[in-house]
Subunit: 340 residues, 2 copies
């Protein structure tokens, strides 16, 4: 059986998520005819691996997309706003990891396990948006529960790792660790405050209602993906001194009761998510043991006795993989298989 | 004005909280006539400071309390069960930091800022219980809000520091940090898993309903202190790689609306707790900058838009001081001033 192959561009190829997009495209054997690495001027000329060869990084520009079928963007919202339309103009379909287009009505926002059919609407703007990483990890766990009983409300607190702020932020946490051991002054650049031995209740900038943008994304993006403007998501997003993988304590209220047993059954049967919930054996999801994989793990599943039809759980996922790179590649796979 | 002085014993004097009890008694110039340090057999003979002198540690035994007026216990639940009754028998009033007696109907459970008048009931058993550290930090913030409008429900996620599990647990986090930098194997003893660069959703043992004992304490102890068996507290207690001070993301539902402005006003006027809430200037409570003090700090105050009469906030306090030692000494002060 012959399989169609595509010209693929990765915009932001030298960033933490961009590099991982390349790795995931390789791992999943994406049908690539030609691979193009794009980044800002200062990275031009760098050579990055692709299936045993090396490809030179070219400058991210409007002209760089000629002949490209699928462009994966992870170069920041400003670059997406500037260059995604040019990529579409050149004939590419854009899968954009930034927040630039996520809430636009004519841009589908997709987690394949949640709302894969929305990908069909890519034709409107030529762009599909990849959701916020913390939101992705939560919604893969919410989806099987939602399909059993509509979710009315979510209260979630996050424990987000340093690499969510980029490769240099993860490096800063490591450097702070080395400085602490040496007794050197601890330098703070990537975050607002020292992250080592601290937690910082501040991710992205603050909005007028006292929530951060990160927290509002969890509300707005969840509603959009579930096509449900009744669901309300209140979150507190917190940076913790973890290198990779985000954790979330989630309390939901559903229309009808979902027992913990039923929740385990529903989540076990769902794609992209697994139950890891044997507390008596000290078994529950943790970021240290989740980083590097694509599965989100759910544990600490229990009835929330503080409200009718309440359920509490704990979910952990690698926010660079399923929360960003892998989700984008999954979208590209569906595009490639079904639409292009 | 002459001031009455007391014979005071600290049971568990060599532990993290015991040592801090001694420090706080000194700091606050507690009216001590005679100080007695008690600990297990292996610490007997150690000499610990008291106001510029040294006192030798004696063995914690039933006979050690003869002549003692006030005994502060922080030697673990088993020791409290074994020796607190003997201390009472010998004529002492016991302030017990363990969970052994907290939920007993004839033992007052007290955070002075919340329910100081309950101290009067010490006469029933001769024992006053100091609440769980995570609960104390939360209730000092809840109290001024509760007095304005009854709280129906609390959903809270904690970010608890290593020293909550004792001095050796804090040392283990430091040792893991040094090992990581050296590239040595990371040893795990105090916690179930590596804490460095990780978060562990498991504090104390699990109960049949899927919550941990730590989580159930937040529910049960809050109800007892507020004398309100309608309030429901659902929590997820999580250990994070922080040395000292616990943080909590709290979402409450109240009978009538408390606006964020009103909440700031109420908390600002309350004892033991301060508002630190200027997010535009990156100002909010964090454990790294809270450790070492007695005040609990509240920030990220905002209307929780996901529910009627919802309010969200973030509270941080030093769990060894206000969450344990200082709270116990405050109770002892009220005993000394008003009852003994």
């Amino acid at each position: 059986m012959s399989r169609k192959e595509f010209s693929v561009a990765v915009a932001g190829a030298t960033g933490a998520v961009g590099e991982l997009m390349i790795k995931v495209l390789e791992e999943r054997n994406f049908p690539v005819r030609e691979m193009r690495y794009l980044a800002s001027a200062r990275s031009v000329g760098k050579r990055l691996a692709w299936k045993g060869e090396e490809i030179e990084v070219r400058e991210l520009s409007a002209r760089a997309f000629s002949g490209v079928d699928i462009a994966l963007f992870s170069a920041g919202g400003g670059r997406s706003l500037e260059f995604a339309p040019a990529a579409v103009e050149a004939g590419a379909v854009v899968v954009d990891n930034s927040s630039a287009f996520r809430m636009e009505a004519d841009v589908p926002l997709v987690v394949p396990e949640v709302n894969a059919p929305d990908i069909a609407n890519y034709t409107q703007r030529g762009i599909i948006a990849n959701p916020n990483c913390t939101t992705i990890i939560m919604v893969v766990a919410l989806k099987p529960l939602y399909d059993f009983s509509r979710i009315r409300r979510v209260v979630v607190s996050s424990y987000q790792s340093a690499s969510g702020a980029g490769a240099q932020a993860m490096e800063e946490l490591k450097e702070q660790t080395r400085s602490w051991v040496k007794g050197d002054p601890i330098e703070v650049k990537a975050f607002q405050h020292q992250l080592l031995f601290n937690v910082i209740p501040h991710i992205d900038s603050f909005t007028d209602n006292g929530y951060t943008k990160e927290e509002m994304k969890m509300h707005n993006e969840t509603r959009k993906m579930f096509h449900d403007d009744q669901i309300r998501v209140s979150s507190t997003c917190v940076r913790v001194p973890v290198l990779t993988a985000h954790s979330e304590a989630v309390a939901i209220e559903t229309e009808s009761e979902i027992t913990p047993e039923k929740a385990r059954e529903l989540i076990s049967a769902a794609p992209g998510v697994e139950v890891l919930d044997d507390p008596e054996r000290n078994s529950y999801p943790m970021p240290l043991f989740t980083a590097g994989g694509d599965t989100c793990y759910v544990g600490r599943i229990r009835r929330d006795f503080s409200v009718e039809n309440g359920l509490s759980f704990w979910v952990v996922g690698d926010q660079l993989r399923k929360g960003a790179a892998t989700n984008a590649v999954q979208i590209a796979e569906i595009l490639a298989d079904q639409y292009l």
